[in-house]
Amino acid sequence: MNAIVVSTLLGVMMMFCSWGIQSQKAQKNIALFGLIILIMANLAQANGWYTFNYDTKGMLAFNVFGLYANTLMFALTFIYVWINGEEISKLSNAAADFYSLIFFILCGVSVLTSFDNLLMLFIGIEILSIPLYILTGADKKNMLSNEAALKYFLMGSFSTGILLLGITLIYGGSGSFHLAPPLIHISTGMVEEQLLVSAGLILIFAAMNFKVSAAPFHFWTPDVYDGAPTVFTSFMATIAKAAGFIAFVKVFNTQYLALGYSWTILLTFVIIATLLVGNIIAVFQRSVKRMLAYSSIAQAGFMLFALYGKSEISNESILLYAVVYSIATIGIFGVLVKMKENSFEAFNGLAKADPLLAFTTTIFLFSLAGIPLTGGFFAKYYMLSNLLKAGAGLWLILVAVVFAAISIYYYFKIIQAMYFTAGEPAIGPMPKNYQYQLLVLAIVLLVLGVLPNLLLNYLYF
């Protein structure tokens, strides 16, 4: 509850900052300070210090997993603002508005990590999505940004409609919006409960796939990620997506029982399709930004493995994966934002011109590809080992490993351009300070790659 209330208040406060305080640097620092307050408020609740203790009538349920996920998401946002603050300021004179939207998104994130009712799932998803539509169109004069915003908006509200129909059908079958496991408890004799609940769950599954850009519903992702301003693509691909996955896991870690055996078939189909589409199309991209959009689809395929099996197993792997993937993605987008163009050729000869930057970029790419000694390796490893514990077939793990190997190809195209192709990198002015910030991210990834227990020790609920 703390996180929901405090993030809303901070969002409103940032809104007033946009005309009260002119200095962009001050606005960024206020946002960073607000994020620290938010993290502390959330930690206070995690340690049993309830400041806002309302009876939510079963709408929200705060558990250790949700609060810990909140803390991690807020910390990731802190890193994101810390690195991208200057770039956000360049987009508009009133950058504080963007920070305020980011705080509202964090409010949506904290609803999504603690909902216990399908109504709150819907509200959380909308609080998360609506500010994202605005952020996508933040570059008002840019046609591509407009196009991405409209596309994202139409697709997003379309999927909301599907989500709502799913929720309604579940209500029709069960007479309740609660997430508690025995779904069908009233026999009305008027409707076919089992049919309605199954249809509703499948519709919710489709809508959630839409939100996290999994395969049959991924087609908006490359266009929107490509058209949105790069700083906000970075936010969309990391924190917003991770929150979507946490909600996804929360809905289905009890509800999937209602679908019976067909759940496994459905999930396996979606996962393989997502891995296939993401990885194969990413190979053929000429723009790095578009390649990263497809790679984020491919990573979503990996994160979907968390839906297999019981919640205790999947919770820890989804959090580790989301954090590691987000750090690496924020890093690589942080490099991309300074590039003058988005093609692979822009990276030519970067290792000669700027060895430190080339090194950090390489760490980010290693982590995304899942090379040992970086965090990405352990994230993938835990995901697959938990998959095995959940009783999935060995062939599925082999498929995942094959696709991870394919992903190495397109990530290494950038490394090859940086280290083995001569040329002049098309990189804009890069302050030393900024490079050290990126280096910190790379070091975090390396530390998580050697000692993943730093994060995982908190994850045994």
Partner: protein, 111 residues
């Protein structure tokens, strides 16, 4: 009236909305079709709410059954209004740049 009628009617409305979103090229009409989908869901929620209320009344149990669905309808309406304000702002922003609200304009990002 049996609940089935409401289910079929709402599903028909919803399908009209889906078909409209997928086939129409005018951004405003696409938008109206999305609203149609949401309103079909609202109607279905109210119908289910009445069904559960009636069942509870028959068995003479607590008469608050089905009330949560009606509250849900209000939330959907509020959120839809918020979405409309954002969506129209985006459409106006696009119109200023392209002087058109045709979705076929949305193909610059393909290549």
């Amino acid at each position: 009236m049996p609940i089935q009628y409401y289910i079929y009617f709402c599903l028909t409305l919803f399908s009209i909305g889906v078909v409209g979103v997928l086939t129409r090229r005018n951004a405003i009409i696409v938008f109206m079709c999305i609203e149609l989908m949401l309103n079909a869901v609202n109607l279905l929620l109210v119908a289910f709410s009445k069904m559960y209320y009636g069942l509870a009344a028959q068995n003479s149990v607590a008469n608050t059954a089905g009330i949560d669905a009606q509250i849900f309808v209000f939330f959907i309406m509020v959120v839809a209004a918020a979405e409309v304000s954002i969506g129209l702002a985006i459409i106006v922003m696009m119109y200023r740049n392209t002087h058109s609200i045709d979705i076929n304009f949305l193909n610059r990002l393909k290549n």
